[in-house]
Symmetry: D2
Subunit: 400 residues, 4 copies
């Protein structure tokens, strides 16, 4: 790799930071059960500590997304959370309300047929926005499980309008520095229709809500074969791309590690962002790069380290695309040469450049290896096992 | 069936008319070849004659969509076409430009990298709009094959902007009574990305083009498992539903007979329209119900007759949904009872009501049977075979 | 409907019985949580009571599938279970081992890299076969969650061979009246590869295991767009169809009510069975029709009643196909007429014939209505709520 | 890259040769039309010349598959074909009969309802086997378009049996050195059911036909999300993998360049073959690596050069997997480390090793560049354009 390429990669990585999800450090699983890990985080302070580890080793994960219901009980002192984060060098990132888990939300949250439940959901959203202001977070990230399981179950248009209204109300409650991210997902847990099923629905609702609302692209929330990078390109061009939830999948919302199934797609998504930065830098405002993965098999912290490293790898590769040569090939209609510009960047092994970037910041060449050698996991596993026992925390649940 | 239900069906059918596609009467096929039919239409006058047959037998197909390139050669006298249609009781319906077949369009039409080709495509679109005005047609229906086959081949955002510009120009050329329908399709013939790939893209482009532009839903142009009736509901609610291309599919854009693979989906799409007419009649303006099918195995005219009959059948069933009982079930959150309201309507055999509607109009009880007994196909098959020989028309093409 | 058709339906229904799943009466949900029902069954005796209700009302559900882990604790007296079933007129049907829930099975059961875990799983399978013998059940139904989440995670061929070996050992342990059903599923909970992913893999393993092993078709365990009825036809022709798990789905393994999303597919599956019974009755041995659904929204017992009724409805419709007319149309290559024979049967409203069949057995015309009027649900909800509280049973689990 | 890795790659490439398709040099397209190329081959002698170019530049494409109908007219002297191939250093590879293009095959070939057409198809298959013997080819490659478009159209089991019978008859006609490859495809051109829809059906038919029949895996003929490398692993383990048709796709059978959409999948497929060669070399007999692509946009010869180069690239990468380290990780259940072994090999840039391999054989470092500099395309384009005009060959066909 010549110096110019190394420099492109260095510059790209300097501007690329990734938010980790607090729930990525806790035990999660599938509907058939969870495979529990001794070292899994128990409370928000564990999660902050784990996120601090990942950030201190990778240097690129300064933010931690929090899930209101799972991270903030009535007894959790908000300021203590912010302080704990500060101590390990991370900030509280996006605030994620939870309006899907409570028994009340069986038939939906803000689109529930029952007005009292709709209000309850809205109140939680408004409280989450308020919590974000208290924590100094600039992002409220909304995912709704709302939908129906059977044809005829509810009126699709009534529910659409209920969403419009709720999101408008949320938007009015935003502080000037807060953005509202609207996520879409085709299915699961709703199996006949999901109220915000695709990027078009999220876009319409976000536009209607107001200028601080943007669309959140979860890379696992698409139909089979759907072209995600095209959606990213369109959202960029409409100035409506709020951010990403990184993960990978083969079938449904499998929540696997980014790039583990289709690494070329990860590269192509990043290519659209680099392309936009090249030609229309004004369109690329702050994009929130967030991880949303559910690791049932991989160790939690290792999985997050790997994700950050993989994201950097493909972001760096995409930074190597030679836009000048590409434009020439495109202009003369040379399909094959244009494709080869992409393939050349993708093929380039950027390992050394990543190591150089890390060493330039005093980071370990291989964060994963450094983590394994640190003994951190062994320490917290022991402590958390004991605490789990002390707290009488269960050992998982059964499908039926 | 009680009188009230018969009356609902009668009223529904009175307001339900279907446009036939001229190309549905010609020989078409798959990339592996066409199975030719002696009775297939050769020119626009044959197609008009065939469409006239379908309308005279079903009473519900008064319009004929035309494809500019296939139906109008330089020697085709426009007024003669309109006159021929008038003679058999049909009108020229939507005008369909063709900017995909010519060798120039290898890399796209209005999004081609080459400005001269973009202009050529735009000129054809404008000429088609003009043709529509001459023929007294109120619809211009736009399907674009534009897209790319390989990652990197072209700039997605540049192409998006080229589409915006072209559609705005088209919109400016519309007469006050003309509407522009923008169709979307996820793939084929483009296999990496299609410029207008989904309803969200079509909606953004149509909104940007102007108030006379609407979205066209081809029932075969969706991702596997995508909920089409939800898209219909959203488009209705946004007052952006321009019309349909009816067909059915299992895998890709298979262009099979409407309702042949998933009849319950056909019913549910119609249910959304009836629902909107019930609650927000103001939202349902003129929806163009059009057929777009490619029959390689079924006899062309019979397939169109069958399609019209099937469309009426499921439109009639959907008219039987009891919205009052449904609303009560929805309001009390009774998922199962709400579903059963849909199922009851779907289960009802409406054959007798359809026959009654036909007989009330002096039509045959079974249009397909009546057609077979009429001898029409035998007559035109003989004449067209001879004409085909006289004209030296080939007998199909080879894949490679 | 003429007498001949009524008679066909009556005869068909006489030979059509459905096995209910014990877990269908318990609280289940998605990975995002369970919506709990007061009336949900707590233990195997509740499940038997509920199944008894469904059978006494429908007359067509004489068997109850049991899940070894969920239904049989160390303290459950096997004979008491059989006796309780006998009291409400049902039999213990298929035995379902569970080798996916325990923490040991994180990396698989009989294909685990660890020989000790493989042995543990096999021991459970053998114990389940033994349990089946004790309970007088003739079916052991095997579903394996085994698979991997990441490329490279494990050796696909080693795992395949481990399965061959385990299933052969199981087969050797069967009593002469026992059959082994091998289920397949493309994904979930494994997301990169599932060891028994499709019918071809299940078939190879079953054939290798021995003559008492057959394939189990779960209607929700297929790729999008895959033709299930063709698989059924092939398995029938190979004499390898062991039975079904009935449910419906739109996206993944959604476990919705049979026929709720694609009723025509349900009809077509039954049509293949009727077709085989017509032409090659020798091929159709006992097919186990079983339900496997997970109801998070619908009341459990009502959902089972509805499922049984829907299954009967489409089984009855498929019995109306006129094979003579169909054969003639097929022989002369009349695609449209052949299709219309299917459509005619599907369109026929068989409600009255079902009512007649029920009344001829002293059953209520509408089992669902009769159940609602019986007060059963209110009684058990009260009793089970109290018992749940007494036993200190939790109120669900959290995703993270 | 160290010497050991270079040596692994060299050894792998030495044993890796690819068969080109004669139809890959002719004009092909989609059902919407063909974009014609001046340099496209007109007859079998052009195709041989073009294939010779590709082989002389890449050194890895010594075989040319032929399509009986498209390459052999009644006037084509069989021996002249073999001689022409010999002159440019290629051999005639697999023989591909064509039983889908003729009008007779509208309702199928060997499964047609009409016995006369079944016989005609079988005769063509037998003639193709005979032709293979005359040409010294050891492979007969069978792809059938047989299937139906509508539920009820034909009897699935009757058609299955017709296939069994036909393939048995074909097998009996094989010379001892001939193998029969049975290809599967889920859909297109049949849209309701395809007679040989998946690998399980192909396997059953091949096993029944006889020991010289194997399964052919076309990488584009699978359901969305289906795990192709698992199918490859199973076929290897069953000693039933006959070969591949290489291409890539995103949606349907898009026939794009291998590795252009999902390069990691290409790598994983090759990984299964290397894995089997490592552990069970006895299972890996001759696998026919064949290309089957339809280039509508890319220049034909360039596309073939690129395909050969890409195939070598990913075959070489997969050769770098460290099976020892992988086994250790798998054995200790380290999911993440096992995955990283795959990722390390995939990430390695093998460009230099490929260049070294080529230069060791006196080949150009970049065959594509060398081809462009050779002037071959310009020469044949001119000659073929003139010949096309002389022969009065048409300029494409219209969809409707």
């Amino acid at each position: 790799m010549d110096e110019q390429d190394s420099s492109k990669i260095g510059k790209a990585l300097d501007g690329f930071s990734i938010e980790l999800p607090s729930w990525g450090f806790a035990n999660t699983g599938t509907r058939f059960g969870k495979f529990l890990q001794e070292g899994a985080a128990i409370d928000i302070f564990d999660k902050i500590a784990d996120a601090g580890q990942v950030h201190s080793l990778t240097g690129c994960c300064p933010d931690l997304a929090v899930h209101v219901l799972w991270d903030f009980t009535d007894e959790t002192p908000t300021q203590a959370v912010a302080a704990a984060a500060g101590e390990v060098g991370v900030r509280i990132g996006s605030i994620n309300p939870n309006v899907f888990q409570d028994q009340d939300y069986k038939l939906g949250s803000v689109a529930n047929p029952d007005a009292a439940i709709r209000k309850r959901a809205l109140d939680h959203l408004l409280a989450s926005i308020q919590l974000g202001q208290e924590l100094g977070s600039s992002l409220v990230s909304l995912w709704f499980a709302d939908g129906t399981n059977y044809p005829g179950q509810d009126c699709i248009r009534r529910r659409k309008r209920a969403f419009s209204e709720a999101l408008r109300t949320c938007h009015e409650a935003l502080a000037p520095n807060q953005n509202l991210l609207v996520e879409y997902k085709p299915f699961e847990p709703a199996f006949y229709h999901t109220d915000i099923a695709d990027w078009g629905m999220a876009l319409l609702l976000a536009k209607e809500a107001g200028p601080q609302a943007k669309v959140l692209v979860d890379t696992g929330h698409h139909y089979s074969a759907q072209n995600i990078e095209q959606i990213v390109a369109w959202l960029l061009d409409e100035q409506m791309l709020g951010g990403f939830h990184f993960n990978d999948r083969r079938y449904a919302d499998d929540d696997l590690t980014l790039g583990s199934i289709d690494p070329y797609q990860t590269f192509r998504i990043f290519a659209e962002i680099h392309s936009c930065q090249q030609r229309d830098p004004g369109l690329v405002n702050s994009i929130a790069y967030m991880v949303d993965q559910s690791h049932n098999l991989k160790p939690k912290i290792e999985a997050m380290l790997q994700t950050a490293m993989v994201a950097q790898e493909y972001y760096a590769k995409a930074a190597l695309i030679d836009w000048t040569i590409l434009d020439e090939a495109r202009q003369r209609g040379d399909v094959l040469d244009a494709e080869r510009v992409y393939q050349k960047a993708f093929r380039t092994d950027v390992t050394d450049a990543l190591v150089a970037w890390r060493q330039g910041r005093g980071l370990a060449a291989d964060p994963l290896l450094a983590f394994r050698e640190s003994g951190y996991l062994e320490r917290v596993s022991e402590e958390r096992s004991q605490r789990r026992e002390r707290l009488g925390l269960g050992t998982g649940s059964s499908y039926a």
